[in-house]
Amino acid sequence: MQHVSAVREPLVTGGKTLHDVTQDICYQVEAKPNIRWMAALSVALFFLGIFFYSVYRTVWYGIGEWGLNKTVNWAWDITNFVWWVGIGHAGTLISAVLLLFRQKWRSSINRAAEAMTIFAVICAAMFPVLHMGRPWLAYWVFPFQNTFGSLWVNFNSPLLWDVFAISTYFTVSLVFWYIGLIPDFATIRDRAKGSIAKFSYSMLSFGWKGSAKAWSRYETVSLILAGVSTPLVLSVHTIVSMDFATSVVPGWHTTIFPPYFVAGAIFSGFAMVLTLMLITRVVFRLEDYITLEHIALMNKIMMVTGSIVGVAYITEFFIAWYSQVEFEQYAFINRATGPYWWSYAAMMTCNVITPQLVWIRRVRYSIPLTFVLSIIVNIGMWFERFVIIVTSLHRDYLPSSWAMFSPSIIDIGLYVGTLGLFFTLFLLFAKFFPVINMAEVKTILKYTVDNGPTYNPQKAAHATPAPQPAIHGAPASAPVNYNKHD
């Protein structure tokens, strides 16, 4: 039996019954696509077109299409790679770490956040693969028999660790996500009317029937997968940070990188989750499931990780001075006052000052402000990676080879193109898959529902909660449904 403190805010508002949950979530899957969704998909597909054109230019004419030069030989590609991988981390944090900590509020956001992880990793993987120049030989990064040459891959290289980290992360996230989807596919299958829908969702549901033994094993497997995903998510960005930290470039060669990158990843990831959730809850009318309380909780995580990132920036600066290494000191002075000072200023403003606004309750519970903050944080975290990568490289040990970097149109096309790829995948997911984990929301429903009328911002922010205690042996009274879509 679960017990919920009386001072907790309800996790699902609107007095939902089990059937209402099924109805509300399946509605989007079963209804015809609405105009707003079609419009959004067309915009996403337009940017996907830009992506394909940029990929064609990069592959056909080579890496010379990018703005790289001999001094700055890593720029937007690796910036975008780290940015996308970082965004993915929030999904795993929600699905694995918050599961282990038994944070029940994760139930209504974990499905979409995990989908975001998978799509973000797909976008991230595009950059190193394209930077290879010959992406059709990308499988050479795996240890193959040396009939392809005479060598094995170099297991001492952090770039190879990345290959293993990212491929493990992608496949593990995909499997974890899919196992969670199976019971919900079964729900859609059992409601499906058309023969195509019935067939597709039967195939997707793997024959799930919801038997007691299957549920018992399902829960065990979920916990084990969460247990291995938790260190995995920390290891992935640790290894990404080692791409830099194990080099001898001033500004990169620091031991603070792994924790600093992991915090930054979760920071940017939660910002992206907020951006997506704020849109999703309005477009799909999920205000009763993704409540203001959820938004405030995500804001708090964003604030904590943002503060860790802020401390890391200051620590880096202090250590550069304290190390008494001239090159290290110059790298940091150059970041703040050199020709790229504007990117450093953007990073500091967006990542250090912005999240501190969340201390104010009004900001934390405000939808428009949260939306703006989440976008600012995403911009700031992109600049963080740009600052780390480009400003450390552009003035190296030899002043005669100092250079500046400016992106080519193809660089920009690839970046906005991956945004198109990401949103295309996310919109297709939101239409054909249940965006909220119905089975999991149903488990918390009885203990967290409040029987008040449907979603009301004023009430959700200030009213005293009315948790419904479990009455042993008596059927739960079915509250009146105030929020019917159908």
Binding site: L18, V172, V175, R191, F206, Y218, A474
Partner: protein
């Protein structure tokens, strides 16, 4: 082969849990219980033993770890030794990341495959279910019926007494 089942439909998980206990106490064998979400405590009520999946997870993890270490030591230490960055051929600290990742990789995929296999989950075009509402908002207790005709009415009474909102009969064809 066609079998007949009595289906007790319940509206609430707590009512179901009590019903499961009482029905078993009355000496009736429950075929299975279908629910839209995991009902906590039903494992004990139904007498389902604790899963041994965590043991399997440990062995999958160990397989991954051993494979990763063997692969790296064999490839760089014995098959084609090379000096990289002045480090020893078998630079164990540098092998930790890949060893860790493959441990997780093997554990996760091993667990997923084991779960699908033992639970009998695989893509199939048609799924026969006891009651379609079991994946929506109803808790369904299925009891296998024998040939005697009086059994169903006795079960109906027993299930109704324990809070079932309806009791149905269903024929299922199993291979």
């Amino acid at each position: 082969m066609t079998k007949r089942y009595a289906l007790g439909i319940f509206e609430d998980e707590d009512v179901l849990l009590h019903a499961v206990e009482n029905v078993r106490a009355a000496g009736v064998k429950i075929y299975d219980v279908f629910s839209p979400y995991p009902v906590h405590g039903i494992d004990d009520a139904l007498g389902i033993e604790r899963s041994r999946l965590p043991i399997a997870a440990f062995f999958f993890g160990m397989t991954g770890l051993s494979f990763a270490l063997w692969m790296q030591i064999y490839m760089l230490g014995f098959d084609w030794p090379m000096i990289i960055g002045g480090k020893p051929h078998i630079a164990l600290p540098a092998f930790i990341p890949v060893a860790f990742e493959l441990t997780v990789f093997f554990t996760c995929h091993g667990m997923a495959l084991t779960f699908f296999t033992i639970t009998g989950l695989y893509p199939r075009p048609k799924v026969p279910v006891m009651d379609v509402r079991a994946t929506d908002d109803k808790f369904v207790m299925a009891i296998e019926l024998d040939e005697t005709s009086s059994q169903f009415s006795r079960l109906t009474q027993l299930l109704r007494d324990n809070g079932a909102s309806e009791v149905n009969q269903k024929e299922m064809t199993t291979k």
